[in-house]
Amino acid sequence: MHSFVYRANALLTFAVTILAFMCAMASLSDSFNSPTPSAQVQVLNINWFQKQPNGNDEISMTLNISADLQTLFTWNTKQVFVFLAAEYETPKNSLNQISLWDGIIPSKEHAKFLIHTSNKYRFIDQGSNLRGKEFNLTLHWHVMPKTGKMFADKIVLPGYRLPGEYR
């Protein structure tokens, strides 16, 4: 009893238990952070807008995305995943979400950004509902911690409208 190996076992077990508790505390400290992120998106241009042979509407647009997500970062944040989704309502579905752009922010220094891009993923409606459609652009984000609970939230930017005719 109480040999070298016994002491090593006791020390390792206690050390890892405390480490788990420290990680839990680190995750808990995240909930004291109250972030104040901001985002603006401009639709600079509708590049083209057409009906595919199978009847689905597809549109290509150029976007200016600027956001300040620095306050999302705490000492326990590994990275933040952001994506911009177009959200609109059709007679068949009350909510359609189409991801237009996404990105991974690896650190607080990169969390304030301005991106000029055409939509990274294709904007295709399942049907022919896009002409003159009002839609929201919503910036969603998922905060991935080093340890513990994941947080997700979004900013809804309403009041965008697609052109009434194909071009």
Binding site: H2, F4, R7, A8, A10, L11, F14, A15, I18, L19, F21, M22, M25, A26, S29, T74, W75, N76, K146, T147
Partner: protein, 93 residues
């Protein structure tokens, strides 16, 4: 390691690990660096290992005092008597 040494090793291990956990967490929180916390704590665990795992001399300052061999000879172990064993055998038969 004697009895007092075992108690001391156990207490030292628990107190040192808890102290380093508190130090590491505050250091990490106030420098806003998770890595600082992990490294400080890892250093603390290594130090605690060095202090409490090996059988250091200061764990052996209260050696057990055994009885003298001559004292033990005055009180010999009771030996089973021959009569008792034979009686038992006869009962079984």
């Amino acid at each position: 390691m004697d009895w007092e040494g075992q108690k001391l090793a156990e207490q030292l291990m628990q107190i040192m690990l808890l102290a380093f956990a508190v130090i590491a967490f505050s250091a990490g929180y106030f420098t806003a660096s998770f890595q600082t916390m992990i490294l400080t704590y890892a250093g603390g665990v290594v130090l605690t290992t060095l202090v409490t795992l090996p059988n250091w001399p200061f764990f052996n300052r209260h050696p057990l005092k055994w009885l003298d061999p001559s004292e033990a000879e005055k009180h010999p172990k009771p030996q089973p008597s021959v009569n008792v064993t034979t009686k038992k055998k006869s009962i079984k038969k």
